[in-house]
């Protein structure tokens, strides 16, 4: 499952999308919007066709590199409030070491190469600023 979506991420669906009887380990990473005295939400802008292409290629590279049985990546688009999930990455493998390593690597790559940008939405509208 490779998805960029405006709606809330359904964790159970993301985990179920990588379940297979030959996997013994699933690692799910959730990036959530952290509170900050100035911030009430993050707003995600996505170059959708390129993001989907890039996430799909990244998923294939991760499967090869770590020997995963399956992988899913779902990223939010638009407004995500404090406490909400911005990104979910699920990696399934025969053994847990590969699932942990792959999940951490994929998140690093998402932040490095996928065309998604976030803007902080301040509690006061005059304070909007871009966050890296």
């Amino acid at each position: 499952m490779i998805e960029v979506r405006r709606a809330r991420i359904d964790l159970e669906a993301v985990v179920d999308s990588v379940r297979r009887d030959d996997a013994g380990a699933i690692v799910l990473f959730l990036g959530t919007v952290r509170s900050d005295e100035r911030v009430k939400a993050l707003d995600y802008e996505v170059y959708r066709p390129m993001a989907i292409k890039s996430l799909t290629a990244l998923g294939e590279r991760a499967k090869d590199k770590f020997g995963l049985t399956d992988l899913s990546i779902v990223h939010r688009l638009g407004r995500v409030p404090v406490g909400g999930d911005s990104v979910a990455i699920a990696c399934a493998a025969v053994h847990r070491a590969e699932a942990f390593a792959a999940c951490a690597w994929v998140m690093d790559e998402v932040k490095r190469i996928v065309p998604i940008w976030k803007t902080e939405i301040a509690d006061r509208p005059d304070r909007i600023r871009r966050r890296r």
Binding site: T32, L42, Y44, Y47, P49, K53, H75, S86, V87
Partner: protein, 83 residues
């Protein structure tokens, strides 16, 4: 020929638009296109060092020769994920 130019995040705000069509002679390179866009919107100049370029949804080098109908995206440094 006609090139579709797409702009995101900071660049979209600087230019005040999500993109436009750029008309040019045949054989234009990606670098020449960016030179033209930056000349038209000088506030983009300070961003050239960190700008990533994509043609038809793939990252591309600046010596890439463009074709009629290509979609060129000017991408600020990405910042997906949370935190």
């Amino acid at each position: 020929m006609q090139i579709q130019v797409r702009l995101f995040a900071t660049y979209r705000e600087i230019v005040g638009s999500r993109g436009f069509t750029w008309s040019s002679r045949d054989g234009l390179s990606l670098r020449e296109l960016v030179d033209g866009v930056v000349a038209k919107y000088p506030r983009l100049a300070g961003h050239r060092d960190t700008m990533l370029l994509a043609v038809n949804h793939d990252l591309a080098a600046s010596d890439r020769i463009l074709q009629d109908g290509d979609e060129v995206a000017l991408l600020p440094p990405v910042s997906g994920g949370a935190g």
